[in-house]
Structures are given as C-alpha cells and as structure tokens.
Amino acid sequence: MIPSIPSSRFFRVSYLSYVTLFFIFLITPLVVVAAFSFNDALFPSLPWNGFTWDWYLGKGEPRLGLFHDDALLDSIGVSVQVAIVTTMASLALATCNAFLFEREQFPGKNFLYVLMLMPLVIPGVILGVSILVFSSTVANWFEVQFGYEIEALRPGLVLVTLGQFAFLTTIATLVISARLRKFDITQEEAAMNLGASRLTAIATVTLPFLKPALFGAGVVAFLMSFENFNTTLMLVGSDAPLTIAMFDRLREGSTPVLNAVSVLLMVGSACLALISLFVQRPAKP
C-alpha cells in the first residue's frame, strides 16, 4: 500500500493505471475545449477540418472571432469591473474581520464566528434569490414611502457585486485570519515601544506581514467573482457578465468562438495562478 510495505506487481500496476486514468478524465475536457478553438469549422465538433485562427481573429459573420466580437468583449469588461470592486471590498472587510476574531475578546464571539461562516453553506442560488427578494422589498418600500425609485436595488451590477461580496468575504476572512494567527504580536508591541501609535504599528509591521495572505485571498476572490455563476444568475440585469453571456450562447448552440473565450480564460487563470505561486513562495534569505 505504501512504498515501505511490499505489494504485488499486479496491484502496483493496476493502481498506477487507475491514477493515470483519473488524470486523463481530469484533463480531457479542457484539452478538447482548447483544441476545438482552432478547428476550421462552424461548430465545435468533429470532423477535424484543419487549423485556423478565425475564432480569435475572424472579422465578420459567420466567422466572427473573439477579438472582434463586441458583445463578448463587453461582457469580459463587465466581469473585470465587478471582480475588481468585489475583491477590493471583500479584502477590506475580511482584514477587519481577521483583526476582530484574532485580537478581540467579546461575548458572543463564537456565535458571530459561526454566523460569519454561514455564507459558505448557503447554496449560491439561494443567496442570490434572498438578496433579490430583500432588495426589492426595500426598493418597493422606498417607492411607496418617498415616491423615489432606487435603481441600484433592482437587478443589475450593484446587486451582482453585493451578492458576490456576501460570500467572498467569508473565504477571504478565513485566509487572512489564518495568517494573522501566525503573527508574533510582540513585533507590534516593539514598534509601539519605539514610539509608533497603534495604527502606525499595524500599518508598518502587521499589514506587510499579511501581504502574502492578502494577495492570495485577492487572487482567489477575483477568480471566484469572475467565474461566479449561481449568485450572479439571480441578480443580473441588462449588463451581462461573461459567465452569463457565455451561458446564453451555449444554450443556443454557438460557434467555436466560445472555445476561444475558454482558452483566454484558461490562459488568464494560469497567469494568475503562476503569479500567486510566485508571490506566496517564502522569500529566500
């Protein structure tokens, strides 16, 4: 079973082939998506008609390539905007939360901590729906009371951002708290003994220590926001983020331009993954 325990050759070979099969299972769908973005055909299916860049660079229908498809490019822009705002907001709140849970003692702390974890166990669709219902209630109430329509509380990008922020903050809090727990508080006290105020000490000593965690949590939040589907689906208005735009096209049956978008997403995620690995690597002396 483990290397130090002798096992039969048959067992070792079949175990290895099982693991190999597993990785083929894992990789095949992605390889297939990428490969068909270069197929010279109107649909992402066999037969293979040869190599083309049309699905990236094609200038007009029916072979409108990704870089000329304004609808798709716009939706990428929308997704990036939402993801940046969500990431920033959730990092800021998550840092506050980390300090609250790691540094303060107060009655009801455990209860608050469990509440803080709740967004992880609420299915995304339900989180989206509940925010949709509540924001409409508030908006309707305002309309009746003051005759004033709050556009932001109707389905649209503001609600999408709030919905994603609601659960990404929990994830970011867990990451940042874990790092803050490892911080040696005497360093902060030393800074204060040397005359720094508490805020200065936190800004110059503690926050730099948290930087890898902030960066890691930021990358995860950005990606999860960019790729979020369930919560977004319920809160989306007229401006569709990329996942919603892609989903609509997928249902209609689309040209391999979707494969090209997918390849772009893979490349983007891979770059982010590499950068975060690089940043989080412990510094060598």
Partner: protein, 293 residues
Amino acid sequence: MSDASGNFNRTQYRLGFWLLLAPIVLWLSLLIILPHIDMVLVSLRERIASRQYGFSFGNYTAFFTEPLYWNTFVRTAVMSIVATVLTLIIAFPVSFYIAKVLTGRPRIALFILCLLPFWVSELVRTYGWMILLRETGLISGALQWFGLADQPVEMLYNDVAIMVGLIYTSMLFMVVPLVTTLDSLDNSLIEAGYDLGGSSWNVMRSIVIPHAMPGIMSGCIVVFMLTLGNYLTPTLLGGKSSLWFTEQIYTQFITRFNWEQGAAFGILLLILSSLIVWLGLKITRQSFTRVMS
C-alpha cells in the same frame, strides 16, 4: 500621566473594537440575515389582489401536493447524495496515492495537476463535457471509428451525463481535504498495522479511514452542498429532462415571476441542505467550525 495615557489607550481601543465590529455586523445583517428572514416572510404570503398580500401556507402546500415539485426535490437530493458518494470513491485512491505513495517533486506536481482544472470556470469545464458527449462529439465519433456503433450516439441529456459532470466539477473539493488529512497520518502507523498481522483491508478500515474521517466529512459536506445548489451542470448536460430543484427556483423567480412560490422552494432547499450538513456533522461528531476552516 501614565494613568491618563492608559485611559486614553483604553478608550481608543474600545473605539477600535466598535469600528471593527460595525462592518461585520452590517455585512451579516444586511446581506445574509435580513434577506433570509425576508425570504421566509415572502414565502408565507399569498397574493390576494394587486399589491395586496395575505398570510398563507399555500406555497408550501403547493409543494407537497404537486408531484412535479416534490419529485424534483427528492430526485435532486438523491442524485446529490449519489454524486457525493461516487466522488468520494473515485477521489480516495487518488488522494491516497498522492499523499502516501508518492514523495518529493512528483507528489507536488500531481497535486497541482489535480487543482489545475479548477482554476478554470465551471462553465468551461461543462462545455468540455458537452463537446465530448454530444451526438457529433468526440466519444460518439470514437465509438463509430472503432466500429462499436454504426450511427452517431447521443450521450448528452441524460442522468449519466449529469452525474459525470457533477462528479467532475466536485472533484477538487474532495481531493484537497483528503490529501491534507491523509498527509498527516504517520506512515509508521500503517507499518505497525501490517506488523501486527493486519491485512490491507484491515489496515485501511481500522487505521487509515478513521484517521481520514475529518477530511472525508468536510469533503462530502462541501461536495454535497455544491451539487445540491448546482444549476449550470444539470441544465447544460441534462437539458430539458434534468429536473433539478434549482431550476424550479429559477423558473418560479425569473420565468413565471411567482416570487412567493420561488421563495418557498428556496427555503425548502436551504432546510434540506442544512439538515444534511447537520446530520453529517452529528454522525461523525465533528464541529462545524473545524470542518469549515
């Protein structure tokens, strides 16, 4: 003087505490607690006339009297449980291989390879399966090429396709906790099990699996919740026949604009999901906080 500064520090400190507490309370109350309370209230009302509502359990009785709703609910729950169990069965040997059989660089490489697909959007992964499984897809083409089928085979839009997609999408959330807990198991315990005459099966059952239980449980809970709340995979791979409960919620809210019914469905799904998570924690005597962190 030191006294005064001490007092000043304390007030500053208390102020800091309230400043830290305020945002989290706002976040949890405005985006989590109040929306869910409101959803419960909406699910318990009935439209009498335009903009006039009365209290009623009608939306819940509709759920229990309409077989379509009820069947979809049970079907979603059962398929989610099956998907969770299958994911565990498929992931466990692989996790064991990564954590215990491999060492050094190959081990890190294989672990990263496991994580790789999950940096890519769920939509892209599901799209990959659509290309593989559909009538004009790769698997159908391969079957014809090998002479196993004489015409295109449609493999999309059935339960097996949904299951494959769900298992694929959930894999990461099972492999990571399993590798982490298996990794913390000391090899000498396994060796001791063998030295004492245990068979592979005995060692597995009385040493490895009990040790891995926290990982198994947190993996299963996360996979189950994600599967139950999944919308994309059942819709795209199952087509019109998928009958997934989140689709019912979507239909009630967006297509039929029957928010009261949709809210009731949402509450029911939330209850089911919380119930199963709670049962899972009770059975294995785990604490919620530990499993989640």
